[in-house]
């Protein structure tokens, strides 16, 4: 008799414990955070890309959580620093996919680190929004890979259109040895003829070179009417300084890869007069009142400056766009189901971001057109909108 009572008590206790556990589990599951994975080049040669990107993601994850999260769930950012190394990027992406089990990835500061991770992401079937520049990331369109920055091909075309308006056609190209540099150089050579551009010189320099006077001297004697420096990092700053040193007065165009105050600071007064295509974000205060992007870029500029007391760069803006596109897709899909989120990302229409207005499709996983780029000129150490 005592034994049966004992068993019944034990069963009751067990059932109660089981029920409690089940309730807690369901409650916990409903509160399970949305895990956003990120691998960024926060340190290393691409630190000026990854550092503002990480800061932006952290800032906006915090803000979104303060506003109640997404679909009632908190966002959790899992970020790793790949230091610009494609191998490290692959290792961290593997960790994000297999150990951290993230719902989607916003990351890949450079083309090199992004491309290293693409096969893994395609195989795992996880949406991946890249923050890197080269056109090869979305061409041909890969099922799970999207990107927010303008492509290098668009930068070439924007520059060529500007050159045409200035009636210049003979261009000397100078580029570095990095992935972005090589990609942009290739794209410019490909699309040049469509805009009546003739390339009279094609010089290169090493990523850590500190003196480009030799290449610029050769360009001086080549009959060029304008010079295009397709590169990023410290190389373009040295090219700009050497440019003035060797006495070149031809128009100098840089790529959107150096659209940051860091470039102006390193180049000093030599940067005055340099033109480059960039996102409207850099000239938020110079945009017309009716510009669709003005409220978005002004809002981002204020939020970033308030928290970090630093100038905004278009790279941080790309991270903002990436996170917002992902969040909007999760809301549209109503869940974090990877396939549904991917479909929602692909169906993005009319999203106004810092880079421009985004309209994606099955064949276009970037969604920007040439109007998303503005032509800027450096005047007195600051950006100025060229009309």
């Amino acid at each position: 008799m005592r034994f049966l009572t004992f068993v019944r008590t034990r069963c009751a206790q067990g059932l109660l414990a089981g029920a409690a556990a089940l309730l807690a589990a369901t409650a916990a599951w409903a509160q399970a955070p949305i895990r956003v994975g990120a691998f960024l080049s926060v340190t290393g040669p691409a630190a000026f890309l990854g550092d503002p990107e990480l800061k932006t993601l952290e800032l906006y994850v915090e803000r979104l959580n303060a506003e109640g999260g997404v679909l009632g769930r908190k966002l959790q950012l899992v970020a790793y620093d790949d230091a610009g190394d494609a191998e490290k990027a692959r290792t961290f992406a593997k960790r994000l996919l297999e150990q951290d089990k993230v719902d989607l990835i916003v990351g890949g500061s450079t083309t090199g680190t992004t491309m290293a991770v693409v096969p893994m992401v395609e195989q795992a079937g996880v949406p991946f929004v890249s923050l890197a520049g080269a056109v090869v990331i979305v061409e041909p369109a890969k099922k799970w890979v999207f990107k927010t920055p303008h492509t290098d091909r668009m930068a070439c075309e924007k520059i060529f259109v500007d050159l045409q308006s200035r009636k210049l056609s003979k261009v000397a190209l100078i580029s570095g040895s990095g992935g972005f540099d090589k990609s942009m150089r290739g794209e410019c050579l490909k699309v040049g003829s469509k805009h009546g551009i003739e390339f009279v010189a094609d010089e290169t320099y090493g990523a850590t070179d500190t003196d480009m006077t030799a290449q610029l001297t050769k360009i001086k004697g080549s009959g060029a009417q304008a010079v295009l420096n397709a590169g990023f990092g410290q190389g373009p700053a040295i090219v700009t300084r050497n440019y003035r040193q060797v006495g070149l007065t031809l128009p100098l165009y840089q790529s959107h890869g150096v659209a940051s105050k860091e470039y102006i600071k390193l180049s000093g007064s030599a940067a005055d007069g340099v033109r480059l295509p960039a996102a409207a974000l850099l000239v938020a205060d110079q945009l017309a009142a009716g510009d669709a992007q003005k409220p978005v870029v002004a809002g981002y500029t204020k939020a970033f400056a308030d928290k970090y007391k630093a100038d905004v760069s278009s790279f941080g803006g790309h991270a903002y766009d990436g996170l917002m596109l992902a969040v909007n897709a999760i809301k549209a899909a109503g869940s974090t189901d990877k396939a549904k989120v991917r479909d929602a990302l692909e169906a993005t229409k009319g999203y106004v971001g810092t880079a421009g207005v985004v309209n994606m499709s099955a064949s276009d996983h970037m969604g920007l057109d040439l109007s998303a780029f503005r032509m800027l000129e450096v005047r007195n150490g600051n950006w100025a909108l060229v009309n």
């Binding site: 070179d209 006077t213 006495g247 007064s269």
Partner: protein, 291 residues
């Protein structure tokens, strides 16, 4: 065509002056210990980065630069006392590996202290390029070449006319004999580290306005300075200067006339050729061992 050559030579000599300073540092420490100090490049970097920090703190340029050189010398002396002297009885290979470890340590420390950004020093005088026979030269290049020349002259005066300098020369000829005549060879090694760091840091502050500086600027400069020292003859003072200038010229002319994409490879090809064909370098004497 002539002005283009002149431009290549001008930029080559500027770089060559820095390589000469770095190469001198290698030769000085090699003479005092028989080992190659692979942390030499980091002394150059510490000079440049310290100058950036001191300037940012508000010090005037003429004060920040000597203090930056002093900072690098201090670091080198501490390294010598803590890492090199305890191992002075170990073989040269051990010492070399220790210096590689020191280099990695200093680079890592630099990352923590200064971050990974790239920095520029302001030019010492004006930024207006000087035109000369069709080529343009930055005034900073003249500072580089002049500064390096002054350092070389001061060094030869030091070696020829001061007691410590003569003691260092004696140690480089024959360490045992120097000890027998009462020279403190441990002190000579100590002073050598300081001197090598001072020369390297001088190069670092001179080149920072042109080539920028960052926590990893020491890697390439150290390797190219080593190539220059090997080219001129390791241990030879005049050889280091000659090797630096020749390497700089080869780089400048190679980049201009052959291919600019492989400029860095020139220094490494030079190391290989020197090791294969004339390991004693241009001015190094033939060594012989008593069997």
């Amino acid at each position: 065509m002539g002005s283009a050559w002149l431009q290549f030579i001008a930029s080559g000599l500027t770089a060559g002056a820095i390589y000469a300073l770095v190469a001198l540092g290698f030769s000085i420490i090699y003479n005092a210990s028989g080992a190659i100090n692979f942390a030499q490049g980091e002394f150059v970097m510490i000079g440049g980065m310290s100058a950036v920090t001191l300037l940012a703190l508000g010090l005037p340029l003429w004060l920040a630069l000597p203090l930056a050189v002093l900072a690098s010398v201090l670091v080198a002396l501490i390294i010598e006392k803590l890492a090199i002297e305890p191992a002075r009885h170990a073989g040269t290979v051990t010492l070399i590996i220790i210096t590689i470890g020191v280099a990695l340590f200093l680079r890592g420390l630099a990352q923590l202290v200064w971050g990974k950004g790239v920095h520029r020093l302001p030019s010492f005088s004006s930024e207006q390029p000087i035109e000369w026979l069709g080529a343009t030269l930055l005034p900073q290049s003249l500072w580089v070449m002049g500064g390096a020349a002054l350092a070389v002259v001061a060094l030869s005066a030091f070696y020829g006319h001061t007691l410590l300098g003569k003691a260092m020369r004696a140690t480089s000829y024959n360490r045992v004999a120097a000890q027998l005549v009462g020279i403190n060879t441990r002190g000579v090694l100590f002073a050598s580290f300081g001197l090598a760091a001072g020369l390297g840091a001088l190069g670092g502050v001179l080149i920072a306005p042109i080539a920028f500086t960052s926590y990893d600027a020491g890697i390439m400069l150290g390797l190219k300075g080593f190539a220059a020292a090997m080219l001129g003859g390791l241990g030879s003072f005049a050889g280091a200067v000659l090797g630096g200038l020749v390497l700089g010229l080869l780089e400048g002319l190679g980049a201009g006339l052959v291919s600019s994409a492989y400029k860095d490879a020139i220094a490494f090809v030079v190391i290989l050729l020197v090791l294969f064909l004339m390991p004693q370098g241009l001015l190094g004497g033939r060594g012989s061992e008593r069997v």
